[in-house]
């Protein structure tokens, strides 16, 4: 009885932190696109956008940590540490879980390269950072397919809002990019 309730608590915790991670990473993605615009957003200092982008990404990593560890500990589904990092090898939902694992790997690479950006040099850092464009859709699909009740509730709404936010930021970025050559 007690194991069942702690099991469901873990499940809720995992799911909750997963959703928060998705929202945070959506914000990270949008902010990242805004900084790449190269043009200041009126009333918002470029440094603030960059700082927010950075801090939100670190925060999302913390939430991801809880999301993943609770999913592993949770006895209801059999996911182990290897499944979390190596894509498409888990017994449970290998493909949809694998997308999450892939996104996690990319995320770790993004964070690590950003922390050593000065030492790494701009070219290598930028090359790795481009994979962020792949990471975010992976997370979106992972969340959409792994959350069983997503189609019916407010989660669907959150996903739609996330897509809208990133699309808006992307539009802004490309529009300024065409305005200035760099």
């Amino acid at each position: 009885m007690s194991s069942a309730s702690s099991g469901s608590a873990l499940w809720f915790l995992s799911r909750g932190t997963g959703i928060v991670s998705l929202l945070l990473l959506t914000a990270v993605m949008a902010l990242g696109l805004l900084t790449r615009g190269g043009r200041a957003i009126p009333g918002l200092p470029a440094s603030a956008v960059t700082l927010l982008h950075r801090n939100a990404s670190l925060l999302s990593l913390a939430f991801l940590g809880v999301h993943i560890s609770t999913a592993i500990i949770d006895p209801y589904v059999s996911i182990n540490v290897v499944d979390a990092f190596v894509p498409f090898v888990s017994a449970y939902q290998p493909f949809w879980l694998g997308l999450g694992a892939l996104a996690l790997d990319l995320g770790v690479a993004l964070v690590v390269t950003s922390l050593v950006r000065v030492r790494l040099g701009l070219r290598a850092w930028r090359a790795v950072h481009w994979t962020a464009y792949a990471m975010w859709p992976l997370i979106l699909v992972h969340g959409f397919t792994m959350g069983p009740d997503i189609r019916s509730g407010w989660l669907l709404g959150l996903s739609v809002i996330s897509i809208a936010a990133v699309s808006l930021a992307a539009t802004w970025r490309w529009s300024t990019l065409s305005a200035s050559p760099r």
């Binding site: 440094s47 950006r117 000065v118 701009l122």
Partner: protein, 72 residues
């Protein structure tokens, strides 16, 4: 004497540095940094470090006194 150096070829004039360390970094009419003083006062060093780290093109460099750059 800690000084700030700009890699002018890399600098894109995004202006983050001037936002983060306005004490020593101003911007010119085209958005490029103007280093206001030859040496960075230790009091504003934390701000300057943040500015150096935040530069999107890694164009800003802090030259520490113990490691003087070879040539201007």
């Amino acid at each position: 004497m800690t000084t700030l150096r700009v890699d002018w070829i890399a600098c894109d004039g995004r202006g983050l540095c001037a936002e983060l360390a306005p004490e020593v970094i101003h911007v010119d009419p085209w958005g490029y940094p103007v280093i206001a003083s030859d040496s960075v006062p230790s009091r504003v060093l934390p701000h300057v470090r943040r500015a150096v780290a935040a530069c999107p093109t890694l164009a800003l460099r802090l030259v520490e006194p113990d490691r003087p750059s070879e040539r201007r």
